[in-house]
Symmetry: C2
Subunit: 208 residues, 2 copies
């Protein structure tokens, strides 16, 4: 056996199950109590506190994790040189499915931001910028969509939720599809009302 029995094995398994549970629980409810995570993971509370000094620390880890997953998606999109629109749409869908993008954003304000988090966030911002530029240059994306739009769109889709997880994903894809259809270039489409959102307007939520 690789490491099946033994306290060490249990610990290693717990490392993972705890993180996954935390992601699932806080994705469903950013204000969930830490005991809900323990319960979902099927472990005691102390198993959590052995790994993370505080709830804050767990949240930071989770946010960073989400950001990194998102970055990976963006990089994958940039590396893929298939049909421009397909690549972009697939990128968006992966982001929505994973919920990674919005997790960080939903958590905003519920924990104190570290320097590393800010840096990684900036990196994510720039990558997204590049994804957008690329799609725009390929002529498949409205020119007035920016990074912050994506943030807000992810957040909107995250607010769609029904009891069944699979069905929730399906519904999110449904509305993503509608959104995407309008974001696609041929801007026979009318002007959008008002200027696009600025990052600063949103970042404000991180402070007071």
């Amino acid at each position: 056996m690789t490491a099946l029995s033994g306290r060490k094995a249990e610990a290693a398994r717990n490392d993972q199950v705890i993180l996954e549970s935390a992601r699932a629980v806080f994705m469903a409810d950013p204000n969930a109590p830490i005991s809900a995570v323990a319960e979902h993971a099927g472990v005691g509370i102390s198993a959590l506190y052995r790994r993370y000094k505080s709830k804050d620390e767990l949240l930071q880890k989770l946010a960073l994790d989400g950001l990194q997953r998102y970055i990976a998606e963006a990089e994958a999109a940039l590396a893929d040189d298939g049909d421009a629109w397909t690549v972009f749409a697939a990128f968006m869908e992966r982001c929505v499915d994973g919920g990674a993008a919005s997790l960080t954003r939903r958590l905003a304000g519920t924990f104190t931001a570290t320097e590393q988090l800010n840096q990684t966030g900036y990196q994510a911002y720039q990558l997204t910028q590049r994804v957008l530029d690329r799609s725009r240059e390929a002529g498949v994306l409205r020119s007035d969509i920016n990074v912050t739009d994506l943030s807000l769109i992810f957040e909107q889709l995250q607010s769609v939720a029904v009891h069944d997880a699979g069905r929730t994903g399906q519904l999110r894809r449904r509305y993503l599809h509608l959104m995407l259809q309008s974001m696609r270039s041929p801007a026979e489409a009318g002007e959008l009302p008002g200027p696009p959102p600025e990052w600063e307007e949103i970042r404000r939520r991180y402070d007071g």
Copy 2:
């Protein structure tokens, strides 16, 4: 003076300011404490409790109110026989601006539903159905959009919020515009993934 000075005048004014404050506050945060409403209204807590036996009662009143506003919008849309698409789009915009539609839905679960609420809710449902049928028959609306879709779309848009109220409205209209564009009929548009939402899937949130 109609009723400017005097306790009675103050009371009448308070009736209104309290309700408006409650709407504003709970719209921004469905879990806001009742003291926040008092503060926003610039009155003491007892001014609230004089009018409503409990928070629950205030919430019910608010939800019913929102439902009735929504019904009024739907009826207005049905009465308007201008350009079918324009009427529909304007209806949607009014709903999003007023936030009436989603207030009730956002409050779901935070208070106990009365019989009257259920009835009014059903009435709202039927009216919406008629608005959709009408637009569909006029050939300006995708055929696979149903009442529950609207509910979910309103809810999504409600989750867009920045610090400035005016700007928030502008952004919501921005994304509503994108949504609407895709909801418009010429279904050269591709199939949407998965079946439309059923009312039952959503109503569940009202229970446990």
